[in-house]
């Protein structure tokens, strides 16, 4: 049974490659029925092939997305889509295989569920207005088989049931990272082979498996934003308000502005007020140091062009009255201008990793090695860098007690790490001194 299924999928891949892009779409029917008057009528020919001549190619769009995996020290792997628009202004999104997978694993965050309708290949279901689990589960099974064609699936899905695994991913019971390093390696390699075809082979040989359709009103949420054609269509819809004269043109509003939140770091000496080097302190008191780091929210400010409508006396050219004048007489609404309305979105941001350390300042090191060594021949640096600890919590506050400072001088309390980033901003590295304190030597009254 397993061999026959694998044979089926191998045959499917061969057929897909020869047909440029796999042309089967719905669960039943071959070729499936696609309503020529529906949204997909602009996209798919009656024989099931894609009507590229009818589509405007928006090219490949890449963008950071917080639901994609993050590489430590680098940031998020970009999401990649091929974007097309239809004559009626709909946007068709064709994610690469790896992007599609992480999209479907995070359907709300990625906008997958926001698509008005989707169309998948390889026996997957078509879901109008609601992306059912059946379609994605089928996708998961397809990926499992795809992976199986190059590797032993039993190492990836020990229970032999890839579909069940993807159902669990989608229901939130588990996540893709529970596949483990070796399983995810095999799986991602198979996906990457499909994704890579887009960039290396151009448009002709892509093995896209899924299409998502967004109507013009949702173009602002689609990667790459609205095309000029879609904007014109939206404005024409607004202009259809009852009026006698052509309304004024919409204002050109300012571009969105993203203001990253401040990274707040603080390092403080708690006790004692005048710490002594531990070598001269029989009690080895050391120092108590407090560190804290947090990130303020990132603010995205954007503007929308909103029509200013007034009620004008009498009916419009079509004889319609739809408002009342201050004197109670019937009137009609007319667009008399446009306002740029400011909106703000707040995105909380976390610390993904932070570490704290004590570092003797370079001036103090020089002082020990040059001046102090005149009084104490052979003076040397005992332990000028002390790692105190690290955290992966969203905001970090911690006190480190009795840190053993063996060298006299000024110590920097350093806090370094990386923020998590937000859907509208990249992760940021931070580091450097967040506070300073002195450690004293009995014989020396002045430190440097």
């Amino acid at each position: 049974m397993k061999h026959s299924r694998r044979l089926f999928f191998i045959l499917f891949i061969f057929v897909s490659l020869f047909l440029d892009i796999a042309p089967s779409f719905a669960q039943d029917g071959n070729p499936p029925f696609v309503d020529p008057n529906g949204a997909w009528g602009d996209v798919v020919n009656p024989d099931g092939s894609i009507n590229y001549a009818n589509l405007t190619d928006g090219g490949v769009v890449t963008q950071p997305a917080d639901w994609m995996p993050s590489i430590p020290g680098v940031g998020l792997v970009d999401a990649e889509y091929h974007v097309y628009t239809t004559p009626s202004g709909n946007t068709i999104l064709m994610p690469t295989a790896s992007t599609l997978f992480f999209m479907s694993a995070n359907p709300n965050e990625s906008g997958f569920n926001a698509a008005a309708t989707t169309l998948g290949t390889g026996g997957l279901s078509t879901a109008e207005g609601n992306n059912t689990l059946t379609g994605i589960a089928g996708l998961g099974a397809w990926f499992a088989e795809l992976t199986g064609s190059g590797a032993d699936t039993s190492t990836i899905f020990p229970d032999g049931n890839g579909e069940q695994f993807f159902n669990q991913v989608l229901s939130g019971e588990t996540d893709i990272y529970s596949l483990g390093p070796e399983g995810l390696l095999n799986f991602l390699t198979s996906l990457a082979n499909q994704s890579g075809a887009d960039l290396t082979n151009g448009d002709g040989l892509n093995l896209y498996t899924y299409m998502l359709l967004y109507p013009p009103g949702q173009c602002g949420t689609v990667p790459g934003g609205c095309t000029a054609q879609q904007l014109a269509l939206l404005q024409s819809l607004v202009a259809a308000l009852p009026t006698d004269e052509a309304p004024p043109a919409p204002n050109q509003c300012p571009a969105p502005v993203v203001t990253p939140g401040s990274i707040l770091r603080a390092g403080t000496l708690i006790e004692p007020n005048y710490p002594l080097v531990v070598g001269q302190d029989p009690a080895k008191r050391g120092v108590d140091v407090s560190v804290s780091v947090s990130v303020q929210p990132t603010i995205r400010t954007y503007y929308t062009s909103e029509p200013v409508v007034e009620c004008k006396a009498g009916a419009n050219a079509g004889g319609v009255t739809n408002c009342s004048m201050p004197n109670g007489q019937p009137g009609h609404e007319k667009v008399v201008g446009w306002d740029c309305v400011e909106h703000t979105e707040t995105y909380p941001e976390c610390i993904s990793y932070a570490s704290a350390a004590l570092k003797l300042t370079s001036e103090s090191k020089d002082w020990i090695l040059n001046e102090l060594s005149l009084h104490f021949p052979g003076a040397y640096l005992h332990h000028p860098n002390i790692s105190m600890g690290s955290s992966r919590t969203c905001a970090w506050t911690e006190t480190f007690d009795h840190v053993q400072t063996a060298d006299p001088g000024n110590w920097d309390i350093t806090i370094s790490g990386q923020t998590s980033g937000t859907p509208v901003s990249e992760p940021r590295n931070f580091g450097g001194s967040a506070g300073q304190f002195g450690v004293w030597l009995k014989e020396i009254a002045i430190i440097k």
Binding site: P69, S70, I71, P72, G73, V74, G75, L76, V77, D78, S98, T155, D175, Y177, G180, P181, E182, L184, L185, N186, L188, T189, A192, N193, S195, G196, S352, Y353, S355, S390, R392, S416, G417, Q418, N429, F430, G431, G432
Partner: protein, 166 residues
């Protein structure tokens, strides 16, 4: 009828029983503790100088992207498995090449073996450091026939959290 019990034969029998019990008990303990498996499983250890392992050299190259991209990718792949290199070129190279790491010199330090997986591959904890910050990075490595450790891939932050919290 007279029954004679020899003292020597009693001691011999008792000693023999003790030895049999000790052998059975020892065998059971060896089996339960997994020592038996380890006797028949090739020992996989990190060499005395982990920094010299191909995987670590790949990491150093990966986190210090510079020069021509094709040459840099080749340099990174030298210490990787075939599958790891394939995935690196398809999914990792672009984010690295577009990152703020370009032109930076980053040092990589081996910290410890974080996990040994069923297939014998391992997860290593390493630390990357530049002039400003240090960051723990977990990597998945596989030993080749020559006993060298090759890099499969850098674990994503979402996966690394599992090891960081252990």
């Amino acid at each position: 009828m007279e029954i004679t019990i020899s003292r020597n034969s009693t001691v011999r029998t008792f000693t023999f029983a003790i030895i049999i019990l000790a052998v059975i008990g020892g065998g059971y303990f060896t089996w339960k503790s997994g020592l038996l498996d380890s006797l028949f499983t090739p020992t996989q250890t990190v060499s005395a100088a982990p920094a010299d392992e191909p995987a670590m050299k790949s990491m150093t190259a990966m986190y210090s992207p510079s020069g021509e991209r094709a040459e840099w990718e080749t340099q990174v792949c030298i210490g990787m498995t075939e599958k790891g290199c394939e995935l690196f070129r398809a999914m990792f190279a672009n984010p690295f090449w577009k990152s703020s790491l370009i032109g930076k010199t980053t040092s990589i330090t081996f910290i410890k073996i974080a996990d040994t997986l069923e297939d014998g591959s391992q997860v290593w904890k390493t630390e990357i450091a530049d002039s400003e910050a240090t960051l723990p990075v977990y990597i998945h490595v596989t030993q080749n026939e020559a006993g060298q450790w090759l890099l499969n891939r850098v674990l994503f932050a979402q996966e690394a959290a599992k090891y960081e919290n252990q």
